[in-house]
Amino acid sequence: MGYPHKPHPKETVLLSRYFGEADARTYKGWVKRGGYAALEQARAMEPARVIDIVKESGLRGRGGAGFPTGLKWSFMPKEKKKPHYLCVNADESEPGTFKDREIMRWTPHALLEGTAIAAHAIQADVAYIYIRGEFTEPLAIMEKALTDARSAGVFGDLKIHLHRGAGAYICGEETALMNSIEGKRGNPRIKPPFPAAAGVFGMPTTINNVETLAAVPPILTKGAAWYKSLSLSSPKSTGTKLFSVCGHVQQPGNYEVTLGFPLKDLVYELCGGMRPGRTLKACIPGGSSVPILDRAETESCLLDYEGVVERGSMLGSGGVIVFDDSADMVYQIMRLARFYAHESCAQCTQCREGTAWTTKILERILAGQGKPADLDLLLDLAENMTGKTICVLSDSCAAPVVSGIKKFRSEFEEYIAGRRQPVLVA
């Protein structure tokens, strides 16, 4: 799907409204569209009031964990004794997710405005926007936007800096991101201390996702109640969310819908459904690190934090990967495991060794040399990799493996029994 793009009637465009409008990238163009009004509004308020409004709106982190944003901000020390920092997580590297990239490409000022408001709310003096190294274009656009806005003097005393990553998925984990900003290896840190107590440079820090912050200005201008009313199912999931749909759909791309939107409609209507003659086989609803849904689960799933959990997966970052009946699930799961083996930071034993071992077993199955015991072994390894490490990277590797074996066991067994042509060479 290219831009400019016409929103589907079922979409609720809040963040993606100006996607495709080159003018919206400029400072002037953004102000013309009502930009930076929310920032002014926020500046006039006490920081605590801003936090209250965000709390009230029910906005939850869009990066994956879905933690209430207002609550997160309120963890910052009320009385400022040390410098406070805000980190913006633009290290979007979850396979299947590409929403932050579009926000930065088309509405950089929305992010900058949200950043400035959040910085005001948590009394931060400095904000770092951590952009992954591969995002060359968003980086350039953000740089330009930042220079423009800065010279227009909209940030006051607040300093906003861009920090370019250099190719590490794990830097999307908040503590790893802080280490990376500090010029260290992107190793996740052990918690506690939590970032609000000792984050980047040992100072109180809040870390927010790009989409979360971009959603803050409209909340301020239109009010918490309005945002809260944007909800189709669970009252705990409010607002709109960008869903990045990719894989075997007719029109992949970003679609902004109100939370609680049926996944079925997203896939079949907004994205134009499967390719001709193909049927949906599986779907990963929240980026590669959440469990896979099968067809029935996909078609009955509501896209909000609770609805996806009900179907046995997670909303995650909203990266929807769709597989049709031509997909070889064993191969795709191996690809995901290989991704995690490649990205493991090498700290925790289970993750360092487990992701690589899992990949080796899957590769062997695909080479036609799997053993019947391998599936149980994979499940046992996944069990041992879940919930035992500093961060959730090893859990993320285990999730697709476990759900994949559970839902597509026959495909694995076909390889093992030699009923399928091996696709890899041992």
């Binding site: 083996a341 930071c345 700290q347 060794e353 690589a356 041992n384 035992k388």
Partner: protein, 519 residues
């Protein structure tokens, strides 16, 4: 009970610990060793090996004991099925890339991976033998450290030691995922004066001492508590001996002195203890030559000389001699109308502090017992003492093979090896060296510390305190002492700063004497 104490239960055993204590340390107090690799009390917590997973009641997930602070009323279970299986799986993960080359690994026998695998590992791996193990060639890290990457379990103790304790990060974790290894920059070497500690810290045989390489198997070693003689710091060490030969010096934890570390100078300072050219029998001057004799005869010769002596007497001692020896050597000349001078000389070297530990350094003064000698009235005016020796009636030298002593009087040499200059001595008495006797030193901070015997003395050599106390007895100065403990008791009675201390009380951690620390 004080407010700063909290009580928790570990494996059913209630323990009270100070607030802020980590669960793993609290468990030690409860008599439970939670298996661990990355945790070390002397290093910052990393929490990466995930081996110390324990179950804590009311917590949904297993917790790492090394990074969880004990809390009031906490109920910790280290042996629950979940905790045990988690640790078993960590061991399995660690072993998939760890070679089973224990037969040629120096760490075998004192390897934590071996121990814990034996304790709670799986009997057989499920890692297919056809999958290749990670392989990287052996690397030479520095003067005494060899890195065998295949055995590395990436606990990062070495990296953290260099970064936080030595504060010279020359080691890093390179790459990521299962390709990771401990790396150095090709232009730098691991040549920090305290770098050898990474070998001790390594829980497996990945970092090896080149000096100790292939020298002995861990189970062949006899270990004795000792005190390093490298400098005046007085680091606590263990002497490892194999068949009566000292083969290795390792740090012995003492939080008051050296914490968990010793410097490389001290680590390498042991070869002289194994010298083969030792004096093995008392020697007496007969017809212009030294002849071996028995102790009785030698003692008689010496007492004859001392009884008849008058005027000036000079004692030149080594600051590496035990406090007991120095005391009894001094006592020989107490009383009477003798004009006694005692002096010692301190060899100086480079000072090398360990940045991350306050008050710990390889001290410039390479004298383990200089402070003890001072307490006993020996002076540092060495040149003056040497000059005085020229005209002295009797000169007694205690184990200083390199001294340029000249005297018109009678020279009595007490030592471990026979220097050329002592060939015209009246009597030469063989003594044991520090590894062969018990005794005590006083370090620069005035801490009295005991060392134990690690090997047997050659031939007829005996501890110096025995020799001098027997001589004293022969001169009618009271009963001789039969043990180092008795000897120390005499010292403690006679010397004000040590009064009240007993050998038993000193234990192997030492006690501070009532003296102001040296500046």
């Amino acid at each position: 009970m004080s407010d700063d104490l909290i009580t928790l239960t570990i494996d059913g055993v209630p323990v009270s610990v100070a607030k802020g204590t980590l669960v793993i340390e609290a468990a030690k107090q409860a008599g439970v060793l939670v298996p661990h690799y990355c945790y070390h009390p002397g290093l910052p917590v990393a929490g990466v090996c995930r081996m110390c997973l324990v179950e804590i009641e009311k917590q949904p997930k297993l917790a790492v004991a090394c990074a969880t602070q004990a809390a009031e009323g906490m109920v910790v279970n280290t042996q629950s099925a979940a905790a045990k299986s988690a640790r078993t799986s960590v061991l399995e993960f660690l072993l998939i890339n760890h070679p089973l080359d224990c037969p040629i690994c120096d760490q075998a026998g004192e390897c934590e991976l071996q121990d814990f695998t034996f304790q709670e590992g799986r009997a057989a791996t499920r890692y297919s033998p056809e999958y290749p193990k990670r392989f990287n060639p052996v690397e030479d890290f520095g003067p005494d450290v060899l890195y065998v990457p295949n055995r590395c379990i990436l606990c990062t103790r070495c990296v953290r030691f260099m970064e936080d304790v030595a504060q010279e990060p020359v080691l890093n974790v390179s790459e990521r995922g299962d390709r990771a290894y401990i790396g150095v920059h090709p232009e730098t070497r691991l040549d920090h004066p305290w770098a050898g500690n990474v070998v001790d810290l390594c829980p497996v045989g990945s970092l090896l001492s080149k000096d100790f390489l292939h020298k002995a198997r861990a189970w062949e070693l006899d270990k004795s508590a000792s005190v390093c003689t490298g400098c005046s710091q007085g680091c606590n060490v263990t002497l490892d001996t194999r068949e009566n030969v000292v083969v290795r010096v390792r740090p012995r934890p003492n939080l008051e002195v050296n914490r968990y570390f010793i410097c490389d100078h001290g680590r390498m300072n042991y070869r002289w203890m194994n010298r083969g050219d030792r004096i093995e029998a008392p020697l007496v001057q007969r017809g212009g030559e030294l002849h071996a004799t028995d102790w009785q005869d030698a003692f008689e010769r010496v007492t004859t000389v001392l009884r008849g002596a008058g005027g000036r007497v000079v004692t030149l001692v080594s600051p590496r001699a035990s406090t007991e020896a120095l005391f009894f050597a001094r006592e020989l000349f107490r009383g009477g109308a003798l004009d006694w001078t005692g002096a010692f000389q301190v060899v100086m070297g480079e000072e090398a502090p360990l940045a991350g530990v306050p008050d710990l350094a390889l001290r410039a003064e390479r004298a383990p017992n200089g402070r003890g000698a001072e307490l006993l009235g020996y002076g540092r005016e060495y040149a003056a003492a040497l000059a005085a020796a020229e005209s002295a009636a009797v000169v007694l030298v205690l184990d200083e093979p390199d001294i340029p002593v000249r005297t018109a009087g009678t020279l009595i040499y007490v030592g471990t090896v026979l220097p050329e200059r002592a060939r015209d001595a009246h009597v030469v008495l063989p003594i044991a060296n520090v590894a062969e006797e018990e005794g005590s030193f006083v370090n620069r901070d005035g801490r009295v510390q005991r060392y134990a015997q690690a090997k047997t003395a050659p031939g007829m050599a005996r501890p110096a305190w025995w020799v001098f106390s027997e001589l004293g007895a022969a001169l009618g100065q009271g009963e001789p002492v039969g043990s180092a403990a008795e000897a120390f008791e005499r010292v403690a009675q006679a010397i004000e700063p040590l009064r009240g201390l007993s050998y038993e009380q000193l234990g192997f951690g030492g006690r501070p004497a009532a003296v102001p620390a040296a500046v």
